[in-house]
Symmetry: C2
Subunit: 357 residues, 2 copies
């Protein structure tokens, strides 16, 4: 499935239908692109169609996060199908709302495209956005559509709601708290390495048919990540409120540094506790890359990283959704990885830096 | 003042201080750019620094609007100083909140820049953003800073608040309502024409010193527009609630068409009532352009256009802030300009189309 659309993306249709977006005009285009958006949230009083949207959160607090995605910086259309890009752009923002332990309710979507994009390409992008909005039950309440000088630009603002006592910030971790992560780590980064390699193979031999069966999980983690909207419910059922929380977009080590800095604590992270997928290990070996390095520094997992009080250990122990990967310490002890060989290495926030060339 | 900074922009400093933004890294850059943002709104519980901002509007409704501004499409850095661009980017979004008869309270600001921008240029941009945030008393609560493949990209989401019964939509105009506009029309468009002309003169002769005294008002309307946050207060004091409202970003005729379409009414607009500035008339003559055409189709005035019940005529009559420029009709009568010669011309929503090349 993933392999076949990848092939479809790379083996471009030479005669696709191409409708110029300039033909529709700005208002016509916006009408066309937004006609499928339905309003489902009771908090949405007015969606698209006025100068601004109107929302009503009653006694809930309002959570707001925003992201800007730029072609050639954050994504490569050579292997990122537009429908998946639209889906991922929404997911990435909803993940930030999840990281506050809140429920995403609305998004605004702004898109700029160069004239090389036909209407059909925008339709694909918006199909992905619509699919994500449906999956995550968020209303698309506004946005902007315009032209760019170069490439595709997507800006999404996600809005969510939560009761005040539910909200979890980055700054609440305590010295003896346990460090917990959802899902597994590093797969999205290795998926990107596989896709980059296939792109290069394709550039040399455009008739090559990629066999990507051994990489499906990794590629799916890269191209179609999901936000952990389930974690809020899972934790609520376990009667656990995290003391701090963040989502893993820039890489585990970078996010741990954020929690430690804002909470004024240190951390010991245990190499042998890192949750990694067997396919991930195989592909790291194939690429001759150290799997721990990738698990710690690879970004875009969109899992949640949080701390809980030690007393909550029994509630979470053995739960397949969560892995305890370390514990917080006094700030003066610093932030370290404890290796399998039981040596301590200072963690650095390498993360992912969009500003480097 | 305007003329001198225009000259300063065009006569570029050949040895400015240039600090590479890559030097700071992503987190360092965000810290640097956001350190001056203060939180003033009681509704802002948490601003920049977590996965998302947290807001509390209690029993108020929440108003949300968003815009994407692209270099080469929406602005030209040849004559738009970065500080003014930052200011205008904020104002344009706040204007949408004002057009709902709401009060702007927060903004998120996302910026993407190519590596040709030194830190000092970003500082100028953020100085303008900070100035606007202070002037309009809005908190900057989030955003994103990243690199672009080409040029400068700014995405702003504005958030506001209002009581439910204060909010004014586009769809409430009635058949006999009066059509009212704030300020004057067309000046921003003619300011742009003057700046475009000066740019061409400058390209031919880089040593020319522009004398722009005759154009200061027009240039200011283009480079440093203001959102009409005062109108909400003015109308409240007059005990007038508009039946429909919109801001003039794409041009008067385009906005009238929106009100008519959404309210299912027609409109007669009177040429002799259009509020235009004497400097505007002079410059239209100089450029040999029909001033009515520009007043009706020129965009970016950021004035408010609204309808009021006929009974409110006495409350608004002679008020220098407002001009009654027409009245609504039955939908079947269509949307017309009534000229000084008393002929009726059907209005078209020409507006401004960023998707045309």
């Amino acid at each position: 499935m993933i392999a076949s659309f990848l092939a479809m993306t790379m083996i471009e249709d030479k005669n696709p239908q191409r409708t110029s977006i300039a033909q529709l005009g700005e208002f016509g285009l916006i009408d066309h692109l937004t006609k499928n958006f339905k309003i489902n949230q009771v908090s949405t009083l007015k969606g698209i169609g006025d100068d601004a949207a109107v929302l009503d959160f009653k006694d809930k607090k309002v959570i707001v996060s925003t992201d800007l995605l730029i072609e050639g910086v954050h994504f490569d259309l050579a292997y990122m199908p537009l429908k998946h890009l639209g889906y991922k752009a929404v997911v990435v923002n909803i993940s930030d709302i999840c990281a506050m332990n809140a429920k995403a309710t609305q998004i605004t979507v702004s898109v700029a495209v160069s004239n090389r994009f036909p209407l059909e390409a925008l339709d694909e992008l918006f199909a992905g956005i619509t699919h994500a909005a449906t999956e995550y039950n968020v209303d698309v309440i506004g946005g902007d559509t315009t032209s760019s000088q170069k490439g595709l630009i997507i800006s999404i603002t996600a809005i969510g709601e939560a009761d005040e006592d539910e909200i979890v910030y980055r700054n609440g971790a305590k010295q003896t708290d346990l460090l917990v992560v959802t899902g597994d780590l590093g797969a999205a980064y290795m998926g990107l390495q596989v896709l980059e390699r296939e792109k290069q193979v394709f550039q040399v031999n455009p008739n090559s048919q990629p066999d990507l069966d051994a990489y499906t999980y990794l590629i799916e983690r890269q191209l179609k990540p999901e936000a952990r909207k389930d974690v809020r419910t899972l934790l609520h059922a376990l009667e656990i409120k995290p003391t701090s929380m963040i989502d893993i977009s820039d890489g585990l080590s970078s996010e741990i540094m954020h929690l430690c800095k804002q909470s004024n604590v240190g951390c010991n992270l245990y190499e042998d506790k890192l949750p990694i997928d067997p396919q991930f290990i195989n592909v790291c070996e194939e690429f001759n890359i150290d799997s721990t390095t990738v698990a710690i520094n690879g970004g875009e997992d969109y899992e949640l990283l949080f701390t809980i009080a030690m007393e909550d250990f029994e509630k979470i122990k053995g739960n397949p959704n969560f892995t305890i990967i370390g514990h917080m310490t006094q700030e003066s002890e610093g932030v370290h990885l404890v290796t399998r060989a039981n040596t301590k290495i200072a963690l650095k926030a390498r993360g992912w830096n969009a500003l480097e060339e």
